[in-house]
């Protein structure tokens, strides 16, 4: 619930507001500066050029695909981390969260040595006729690698908050664990899962370092919007700024969606009417 009435006591010292305002400005000002720099008469032609549209399309497609992989891999990971204690659990969590703090370029190098032509798995995949590095698949892998922790963290938190009382009741009512997962657990943590997926999508959309290192920058194949912006910056600053604004708009829309929670479905029960 957003409570915006200013009648209650907040307990915040007045000087905190000044620093908070400075913090907000620090984030907003660069955006304003960028918007001020936009070449508005040329804006539409700039963002609808073939290279731009190709890059935007590739970005949206790969980000959608990597979000799906994040859900497929991240939901089981979050369940295992939140629900079933096992030796080495903390270590596993630390490793799953590592991409959050790892420089993306390092992630790219690690992926290259795993799935690249001479890589750990890449060598065998190469023999099987599958080449991953410098393909759109590589873009998706790079994005999944950096975005997965966002989904896992968000979902694990939701699972821990929800507890497993409902699951225990569902089991005693005769529901098989898979049924419990499908009909009870997932619906209960759906808000957490949704916001995790949105964050993963946003992170995938902005992915640059790992993509460049592992997938390269081939137009229409691996050159996503951030790569296109970086490239345009050298030759056509106006195009770079215009495309940046597009990315900001998409990001704002995505994050806005994730914060507009429909209704808190895990409301406490037995509330008086």
């Amino acid at each position: 619930m957003n409570r915006r009435s200013g009648t209650g006591y907040t307990g915040i010292p007045p000087w905190i507001y000044a620093i908070a305002a400075a913090g907000a400005l620090f984030v907003l000002l660069p955006l304003v500066a960028m918007v001020a720099k936009v070449n508005w008469p040329q804006f539409i032609p700039l963002i609808t050029s073939e290279a731009s549209l190709t890059a935007l399309g590739l970005s949206l497609r790969t980000s959608a695909a990597s979000t799906v992989s994040c859900i497929v891999l991240g939901v089981p990971l979050a369940l295992v981390l939140a629900r079933s204690p096992f030796p080495g659990q903390r270590l596993l969590r630390a490793f799953v969260l590592l991409p959050l703090v790892l420089p993306p370029v390092v992630g790219g190098i690690a992926l290259l040595y795993t799935f690249g032509r001479q890589g750990l798995l890449g060598r065998n995949l190469e023999l099987a006729g599958i080449r991953i590095a410098f393909s759109s698949t590589a873009v998706i892998l790079a994005q999944t690698f950096v975005a997965l922790p966002f989904l896992v963290v968000s979902l694990e938190g939701a699972l821990r908050t929800a507890g497993n009382k409902y699951e225990a009741v569902a089991a005693t009512l005769g529901a098989h664990p898979t049924t419990v997962l499908r009909r009870v657990t997932i619906p209960l943590v759906l808000p957490g899962l949704a916001s995790g997926a949105v964050l993963s999508f946003a992170r995938s959309l902005g992915e640059f370092g790992a993509t460049l290192t592992f997938a390269g920058s081939l137009q229409g194949v691996t050159r996503t919007l951030p790569l296109e912006i970086y490239l345009q910056r050298e030759t056509d600053a106006d195009a770079a700024v215009a495309l940046s604004l597009v990315l900001v708009a998409v990001a704002v829309a995505v994050v806005g969606l994730s914060h507009r929670r429909p209704h808190t479905s895990t409301a406490p029960q037995g509330a008086p009417q």
Binding site: A171, T172, L188, Q273
Partner: protein, 349 residues
């Protein structure tokens, strides 16, 4: 189709064995931390004991005796659990909550909803079918939870203090409802309320420190409690010791004279039981038998109906407010509790 259980869990110093007929309801009574919830968790499969075995008819719930390692998963046991909180799935309507069990058992959506409607009507909640749990009061939610548990058609229904979280208006309604639906059903109900045991159960089991300390038909346990806990529930004083010709001698050497019912043999463990209303309070030692007189220090005074209950030395006395005022009773005072021997029942522990 009898239910048999014996289970031990060392970590909670829990060791219980019990049996239950097909249409029998037992009430589990006991102080907090006695292992009541542990018992239900073990039966429903949420907690694994160290050793033991449980069966319902031919169905083995678990068998961890000797070198066997049979463990039936909770969903395959047929032991529906109803807890203090209704725990209705918040994303499903009342109807779909009740339909959850039948659906999980493989019924079609239509069949499951028909079953659900039947049980909702049975608990007088038919009009709540389309409500979300968030729109139900505590009592309504618990009624829907009862319907949900019954719709799963359990072989054994487990109720963990189902009335505890309800307000005083909702509890009697649910108690009447449970009396109706539990009549021809096998159930174990954990409760703190002697009224639940009286109304709902055929038999009571008193659990203390993970062990059964008393077991029997509800009426017998209340009339002739053998444990201090059951005596407290029945509102009686209880002293335990060794049976003598005239009564019992407690472990601390107190001699209690009383009326033998003919079953106690001198030398065996026995109890002396008497109601608080039979206890008189005096400031000085009274002489004249046949009376029991105990020198005790008052710990508490509290209102009890239209009487004052005086608690001292683990015993209770009920006296009139006027008498209490006359004697000037306050906590910390030492007084004499005096009981006529004819008011004290002596029987084996």
């Amino acid at each position: 189709m009898t239910f048999h259980l014996n289970a031990a869990l060392a970590a909670r110093s829990f060791e219980v064995s019990l049996s239950l007929g097909p249409a029998e309801t037992i009430a589990i009574l006991g102080p907090n931390g006695a292992g009541k919830s542990t018992l239900l968790d073990i039966i429903s499969g949420l907690l694994r004991p160290d050793t033991g075995k449980a069966t319902i008819g031919d169905k083995v719930l678990f068998d961890l005796t000797a070198d066997k390692n049979v463990w039936r998963a909770p969903h395959a046991r047929g032991t529906a659990l109803l807890a203090q909180e209704a725990l209705l799935f918040p994303h499903l309507s009342a109807l779909d909550n009740v339909a959850f069990g039948p659906r999980s058992a493989g019924a079609s959506r239509t069949e499951a909803r028909e079953t659900a409607t039947h049980w909702l009507t049975e608990v007088d909640a038919g009009s709540l079918a389309s409500r979300r749990p968030g729109q139900l009061s505590g009592g309504q939610a618990q009624r829907v939870a009862v319907a949900r548990a019954l719709a799963a058609d359990p072989d054994l229904l487990l109720l963990d203090e189902p009335m505890a979280a309800l307000d005083i208006h909702a509890a009697p309604l649910l108690r009447r409802l449970l009396k109706r639906v539990l009549a021809d059903r096998r159930a174990i109900i954990i409760t703190h309320d002697i009224l639940d045991a009286l109304m709902l159960a055929d038999r009571v089991i008193v659990l203390e420190d993970g062990r059964i300390t008393e077991e029997g038909p509800t009426r017998d346990v209340l009339e002739k409690p053998r444990s201090r806990f059951a005596a407290g529930l029945a509102g009686l004083n209880l002293m335990s010791g060794t049976v003598t010709a005239a009564g019992i001698t407690t472990d601390r050497g107190q001699v209690v004279a009383g009326y033998h019912d003919g079953t106690a043999v001198p030398g065996q463990d026995g109890v002396a039981v008497f109601p608080p209303s039979a206890v008189s309070v005096f400031l000085t030692q009274e002489h004249g038998s046949p009376r029991n007189s105990f020198h005790v220090t008052i710990t508490d005074l509290e209102p009890h109906g239209d009487q004052i209950r005086v608690r001292a030395g683990g015993l209770s006395a009920d006296i009139t407010p006027a008498a209490s005022a006359d004697l000037g009773l306050t906590p910390g005072m030492t007084v004499y509790f005096v009981i006529k021997a004819t008011a004290v029942s002596i029987y084996p522990a």
